[in-house]
Symmetry: C2
Subunit: 204 residues, 2 copies
């Protein structure tokens, strides 16, 4: 045990003796949030208990409620409270046009351009094998299945990372020859599409 890790270890022991058990547990639980280390977690716990009990109650309820209600749209994987998200459920959308994006926030960004009338497929991240995020976690098998159904005529990818994910998948699943062709098309159109949308949005 190094001097530093010994100090950390001792600090944990002292914390456990001095802080009440439910405070120690709250600090540990807050560390599940991305970007929150032991010091931030401690600061957050102190703040909630000392300065914002109402906010704490609201946060606990909101997490529980979102956990109970929010699932994924079965077509596009967007967060949704029903089987289909509002966009996939809308009759006016072009179902032959599919925009593949990394995150739900990208859907909001493209929607704000106001010029896209197709549907989406949300990867919910990008390939990151070290974090355990492979093709399955990104829903690439479902994307393949969507291609196989034949409804999708044109694919747009919004970022290089999305394009890479699709390329990787098509290499791995050589059997999906038709989807590979569509995906490679998408790769060519990817940057053009995004640049166009962003330019249009900026100029308005």
């Amino acid at each position: 045990m190094t001097r530093q890790s010994l100090a950390n270890h001792e600090s944990r022991i002292t914390n456990h003796v001095i802080y009440p058990p439910s405070l120690t547990q709250l600090i540990e639980a807050l560390r599940c949030l991305p970007g929150v280390g032991p010091k931030s977690a401690q600061r957050m716990a102190f703040y909630l208990l000392e300065r914002d009990r109402l906010g704490a109650k609201r946060l606990a309820d909101s997490i529980a409620q979102a956990d109970a209600r929010v699932g994924s749209c079965k077509r596009c994987r967007m967060f949704a409270e029903s089987e289909l998200c509002p966009i996939c459920a809308a009759t006016k959308r072009e179902r032959g046009l599919l925009c593949v994006v990394e995150s739900p926030a990208d859907v909001v960004a493209v929607e704000q351009s106001g010029s896209y009338r197709g549907c989406y497929f949300v990867l919910m991240g990008h390939l990151s094998p070290l974090d355990g995020i492979g093709p399955e976690q990104l829903g690439l098998p479902e994307l393949d299945a969507l291609f196989q159904q034949g409804e999708v005529q044109e694919v747009k990818a919004t970022t290089a990372a999305v394009q890479k994910s699709i390329d990787y998948n098509t290499e791995v699943t050589a059997r999906a020859a038709s989807s590979a062709a569509i995906a490679r098309d998408a790769a060519q159109k990817a940057h053009e599409t995004l640049v166009r949308l962003v330019e249009k949005n900026d100029s308005e």
Copy 2:
């Protein structure tokens, strides 16, 4: 409305249409955490719902449990699940010696030195009128009351900010003449004490 605030406003409207209501509510609720802006809150909400449902459940339970169980020690204001914290309840502690600290984390830091056998008073912050943190929020009236009881013989302050808070309070409450004298004493001893404790801790 500036171009930027208009864009923010439009973004919120689009979010509300595209995200399910309980996700929007979760993003808003996460913003009560210190240092968490709209983008971090969104990233945290996505992460909890997409990658760590178990962590989300645990977090919701931990917040609710800590909110229900954790109060303040009635003598020193430290977080505690019973009327007195373990330190104030301990019979072996010198009750005539009081160390005034900003945060519960300072109690842990001083305890780790292993050389302090007195009690504490936790301000839970420092004077910050712009954030609505004045003498009452720091428990300075309770600190005065503790001085008036006559049990406290010696006061140590751990930081310049703590010393400033005590000074400010003694200025405002001119009536508490005896506590002012004790507090001014404390101000002189403050840095020496902390430096000694930290040096001792480092050399071990």
